[in-house]
C-alpha cells in the first residue's frame, strides 16, 4: 500500500478542467470570490434597472385617475414582478455581492470556505431570475403580488382566481432562488466562523462582517419556512392538495403565518448589510471610530433574534384577536429600540469628526436620514389600531420604500462608490457621484413622501387605477415625476461607471485612508488577496498600523504602517488557489429544467433535469478543489 494515496481525479476525457483565471471565459467558470461578487453585483444592477422600468410603467398608469396605459392584468403582473425582482433579484444578490467580495478580505482569508458552492449560488440566482422572467413569454409572469397570498395563488389554474401560470413560475422560481440563498448562507457562516486570520477574534471583525454573519444565519433559518409554504402553494395548485382549501379543513391564514415567519427576518436580511456598509463608511469619512462599536454589533444581533418574534405585525387586519395583536404590537415596538440605538451611534460617529462629504459619505448620511423616516413610520405601524387604517394602503408602501430604498439602496450606492476603486482599480468620478446622490435623494423623496398622505387619504395599494374626484390626483402626479427623477439618477450612475472604465482616476491601495484590511492590499485586489496572511491585533487593525492615539485621544501617524501597493511582497508565488470549474454551472442548469418540468407538469422534462443534476453532483464531488498543475 502506498503511503500517500493518489488524489481523486475524473476518468480521462470527461470535461477538461478550465484553467483561465483572466479573460472573458474565466468569468463563466471562476470560483474566485471577488469575481463572483462582481457577477452578483452586475446582474443585480441589471435587475435593478428592469425593476425600475417596471416601476416607471406603474407610475405612468397611476399618473392620473382611470389610467389606460396598462390593463388590469398587465398592471398586476408589473407590481408583482417589481416587488419580486427588487427583493429577490436585486436586494439580496447585491448584498451577497458585497459580502462575497469583502468578507474574505476583511477577515484576512484567501477565499470563502466553499468556492465552487459560491459560484453555484450565483448560477442559481442567474437561472432562477431568468426562469421567473421567462413566465412573460411562457404562459404568464407572476401576478399574485410578491407575497402571493392564498387562496388567490393556490387555487388551481382552472379555478380562475389568477389566470395563467404566473403563480407556478413564482413559486418554483422562488424555491430555486431559496436553494441558492441557503448555500450562500452556509458558505458565509462557515467562512466567517472558520477562516479568520490569526488574531482576528469575533469582536475584532469589521461590523460589516458581523452584519453578514447575522444575515447568513437569518437566511438559513428563514428560507426553509417560505420554501415549505411555496411547496404547499404549488401542490394545492397542481396536485389538488388542501393546505389552503377552506372547505376541506385548510386555512389560508396558515400561508400568511409561514410566509411572514420568513418575511420579517427577510427584511432584516435586506437591511442589515446596508447597516454594515454604512458602519464602515461613516468612520472612515469622519476620521473617527464607530461610536459604541460593540453596541452596534450587539444591536445587530438583537435585531436578528427579535426579528423572529414580530411576523404577525404584517397580519394586524386578519382578525388574529386582541391577545395576539397586543403581543406582536409590543414586540414590534421593542425592536425599534436596538434600531434607534444604531442610528444614534452612527450620529455619534459623525459628531465631532472631520467629515469628507465624498459620495460614499453623502449616501451614508442620506441613509441615516431616510432610514430614520422609514423607521418612524414603522413605529406608527406598530400602533395596532392605527395600522388597520395604514396597512394595504400607500402609507405602508411609503414606509417600506423609505427603509429599503432610502435605507438599503442608498447604502448600496454608497458601497459602490466606496469600494469601486478596490474592486476595479479606478475611482468613480466624485462630482458625477454627487449629482447621482442629489438626484436620487430628491427623486426618492418626491416619489415616496407623498405616499404617506395618499395612504392616509384612503388610497389602497395594488390598485391598477383610482377614481377621479378623490383628491389624489395631484399627489400622484408628483409621485410619477419623482420616479423619473430617480431614473435619471440611475442613468447618471451608469454614465459614471462607463466613464470610470474609460478614463477614471487610477486608485491606490488606500484612497480613502481606510480602517479595514481590504485597504491594506493593492487595488484591484490580486487573485490571492494577501501575499502573506495578516496577523491581527485589534479591531480596525489596518488603521492601527497607520495611527496611534495620544493622551488626548488625537491621532498620531505611524511612519511604518501603510498599504501594500504590491511593490514589495512578491506576486503570491507558491500560493495554491481553488481552480475554476464548470460544474457549479452544470449543476445549477439542472434546476430550471426541473422547474419547467414542474410548472408544465411534464415528466419528460424532468428526466434530463434530474440527469444533469446527478451528473453535476457526481462530477463535482470527484473533481478536486484545486487542480493538479
Amino acid at each position: 500500500m502506498t503511503a500517500v494515496p493518489a488524489p481523486l481525479s475524473p476518468p480521462r476525457g470527461i470535461l477538461h478542467r478550465p484553467k483561465a483565471s483572466t479573460g472573458f471565459w474565466s468569468w463563466w467558470t471562476t470560483v474566485d470570490h471577488k469575481k463572483i461578487g462582481i457577477l452578483y453585483g452586475g446582474l443585480g444592477l441589471v435587475f435593478f434597472v428592469i425593476a425600475g422600468i417596471e416601476a416607471l410603467l406603474i407610475r405612468l398608469q397611476l399618473a392620473g385617475p382611470n389610467g389606460t396605459v396598462l390593463t388590469a392584468s398587465q398592471y398586476n403582473t408589473l407590481f408583482t414582478m417589481h416587488g419580486t425582482t427588487m427583493v429577490f433579484l436585486v436586494g439580496m444578490p447585491i448584498a451577497t455581492a458585497f459580502g462575497n467580495y469583502l468578507i474574505p478580505l476583511q477577515i484576512g482569508a484567501r477565499d470563502v470556505a466553499f468556492p465552487r458552492l459560491n459560484m453555484f449560488g450565483f448560477w442559481v440566482f442567474a437561472f432562477g431570475g431568468l426562469f421567473i422572467y421567462s413566465g412573460f413569454v411562457l404562459g404568464g409572469a407572476p401576478n399574485g403580488g410578491w407575497f402571493g397570498y392564498t387562496p388567490l395563488t393556490s387555487t388551481p389554474i382552472t379555478g380562475g382566481a389568477l389566470p395563467g401560470h404566473g403563480p407556478d413560475f413564482w413559486a418554483i422560481g422562488l424555491i430555486m432562488l431559496g436553494i441558492g440563498s441557503v448555500t450562500s448562507g452556509v458558505n458565509f457562516v462557515v467562512t466567517i466562523l472558520n477562516m479568520r486570520a490569526p488574531g482576528m477574534t469575533l469582536m475584532r471583525m469589521p461590523v460589516f462582517v458581523w452584519m453578514m454573519l447575522v444575515v447568513a444565519f437569518l437566511t438559513v433559518f428563514a428560507m426553509p419556512a417560505v420554501t415549505a409554504a411555496l411547496i404547499m402553494v404549488f401542490f394545492d395548485r397542481n396536485f389538488s392538495t388542501n393546505f389552503f382549501v377552506a372547505a376541506a379543513g385548510g386555512d389560508p391564514l396558515l400561508y400568511q403565518h409561514l410566509f411572514w415567519l420568513f418575511g420579517h427576518p427577510e427584511v432584516y436580511i435586506l437591511i442589515l448589510p446596508g447597516m454594515g456598509i454604512v458602519s464602515e463608511i461613516l468612520p472612515v469619512f469622519s476620521r473617527k471610530p464607530l461610536f459604541g462599536r460593540s453596541v452596534v454589533i450587539f444591536s445587530g444581533i438583537a435585531i436578528g433574534f427579535l426579528g423572529w418574534g414580530v411576523w404577525a405585525h404584517h397580519m394586524f387586519a386578519t382578525g388574529l384577536g386582541p391577545v395576539a395583536t397586543t403581543a406582536f404590537g409590543l414586540a414590534t415596538m421593542l425592536i425599534a429600540i436596538p434600531t434607534g440605538v444604531k442610528i444614534f451611534n452612527w450620529m455619534g460617529t459623525v459628531w465631532g469628526g472631520s467629515l469628507r462629504l465624498n459620495t460614499p459619505m453623502l449616501f451614508s448620511l442620506g441613509f441615516i436620514a431616510m432610514f430614520t423616516i422609514g423607521g418612524l413610520s414603522g413605529v406608527t405601524h406598530s400602533i395596532v389600531p392605527a395600522d388597520t387604517q395604514q396597512t394595504d394602503t400607500y402609507y405602508v408602501v411609503a414606509h417600506f420604500h423609505y427603509v429599503l430604498f432610502g435605507g438599503l439602496i442608498f447604502a448600496i450606492f454608497g458601497g459602490f462608490y466606496y469600494w469601486w476603486p478596490k474592486m476595479f482599480g479606478r475611482l468613480l468620478d466624485d462630482r458625477i457621484g454627487k449629482l447621482n446622490f442629489w438626484l436620487m435623494l430628491i427623486g426618492f423623496n418626491l416619489t415616496f413622501f407623498p405616499m404617506h398622505f395618499l395612504g392616509l387619504a384612503g388610497m389602497p395599494r395594488r390598485t391598477y387605477r383610482y377614481a377621479s374626484g378623490m383628491g389624489w390626483d395631484n399627489l400622484n402626479i408628483l409621485v410619477t415625476i419623482g420616479g423619473f427623477v430617480i431614473a435619471s439618477s440611475v442613468l447618471v450612475f451608469l454614465v459614471n461607471v462607463v466613464k470610470s472604465a474609460k478614463n477614471g482616476e487610477v486608485a491606490s491601495a488606500d484612497p480613502w485612508d481606510g480602517r479595514t484590511l481590504e485597504w491594506s492590499i493593492p487595488s484591484p485586489v490580486p487573485e490571492y488577496n494577501f501575499a502573506e496572511v495578516p496577523e491581527v491585533h485589534a479591531a480596525d487593525d489596518f488603521w492601527h498600523r497607520k495611527y496611534t492615539e495620544d493622551e488626548e485621544g488625537r491621532l498620531v501617524r505611524l511612519p511604518a504602517g501603510g498599504a501594500d501597493d504590491g511593490a514589495h511582497h512578491g506576486d503570491g508565488h507558491g500560493i495554491h488557489l481553488p481552480s475554476p470549474s464548470f460544474f457549479p454551472m452544470v449543476l445549477a442548469l439542472g434546476l430550471p429544467i426541473l422547474g419547467y418540468a414542474a410548472v408544465f407538469k411534464n415528466p419528460w422534462l424532468a428526466i434530463p433535469g434530474a440527469v444533469i443534476l446527478l451528473f453535476g453532483i457526481y462530477a463535482w464531488t470527484i473533481e478536486p478543489g484545486t487542480a493538479e498543475d
Partner: protein
C-alpha cells in the same frame, strides 16, 4: 460536497493531514463539518414547518374522510421505524470501521445502512399504497395533504441519503476511500442521523400521540 480547505499560507505546502479532525480553522471544526451542521439546522426549520402544519390541521378533516386512527397501522410503522433506527447504529459502526482503516467492515456496515434505508422506504411505499386503497389521497383532506407531503419529503431525504451512502460504498470498492477520508463518512453519517431523528419526531408526534 467535500472540499479541500483552500486557506494556504504562502510558505507551507499543504497535504491532507487531517486524519483526526485537526483543522486549520478558528472553531476547530473543519469547514465541511461546520457546513453540514448549519445545513441540518436549516433543514430542521423546513421539516418543522411541515410538522407544525400537520399538527395545526389535526382534527380538521371532514368527518366522512379517513381519519388517522382509521388508517394508521402502528405495529407496522413501529417495525419500519425500528429498522431506520438500527440503520443509525450500522452507520456509527461504518464510521468506526473507516476510522480504524478496516475497509472491508466499512463496506459491510455502510451497505447495511443503505439496505435498512431501502427497507424503510419500501415499508413507506407499502404503507402509502394501503392508505390510498383505504381512501386517503393527497386531495382527500388536509390530513391526506399534510401527511403525505410531510412523509413524502422525508422519504425523499432518505432516498438522497441512500444514494449518498451507496456512492461512498462505491468509492470504497474502487479503493478511493481512505482513512484520511473518514470525515466524508462522518458528514454523511450526520445527515443520516438527522434524517433518522426527523423520523423519530414524526413517528412520535404524528403516529403515536393521538
Amino acid at each position: 460536497m467535500a472540499q479541500a480547505a483552500p486557506v494556504v499560507p504562502a510558505e507551507a505546502e499543504h497535504t491532507d493531514a487531517h486524519a483526526h479532525g485537526h483543522a486549520d480553522t478558528n472553531t476547530g471544526a473543519s469547514n465541511p463539518k461546520l457546513a453540514i451542521w448549519v445545513f441540518l439546522s436549516s433543514e430542521s426549520i423546513f421539516f418543522g414547518a411541515f410538522i407544525t402544519t400537520y399538527l395545526l390541521y389535526r382534527g380538521r378533516s371532514p368527518a366522512n374522510t379517513p381519519q388517522p386512527k382509521d388508517v394508521y397501522n402502528i405495529p407496522f410503522t413501529s417495525v419500519t421505524s425500528f429498522i431506520l433506527l438500527m440503520s443509525s447504529l450500522t452507520m456509527v459502526l461504518a464510521l468506526a470501521s473507516i476510522q480504524r482503516g478496516d475497509h472491508r467492515r466499512f463496506r459491510t456496515w455502510i451497505l447495511a445502512t443503505a439496505l435498512f434505508g431501502v427497507i424503510f422506504i419500501g415499508g413507506q411505499i407499502y404503507e402509502f399504497t394501503e392508505f390510498y386503497r383505504e381512501g386517503l389521497a393527497l386531495k382527500t383532506s388536509v390530513f391526506g395533504s399534510s401527511f403525505f407531503v410531510l412523509t413524502g419529503l422525508h422519504g425523499a431525504h432518505v432516498s438522497v441519503g441512500i444514494m449518498w451512502l451507496l456512492s461512498l460504498w462505491g468509492l470504497s470498492m474502487q479503493n478511493r476511500l481512505h482513512v484520511q477520508d473518514a470525515e466524508k463518512v462522518e458528514i454523511a453519517g450526520l445527515y443520516w442521523h438527522f434524517v433518522d431523528i426527523v423520523w423519530i419526531v414524526i413517528f412520535t408526534v404524528i403516529y403515536l400521540i393521538p
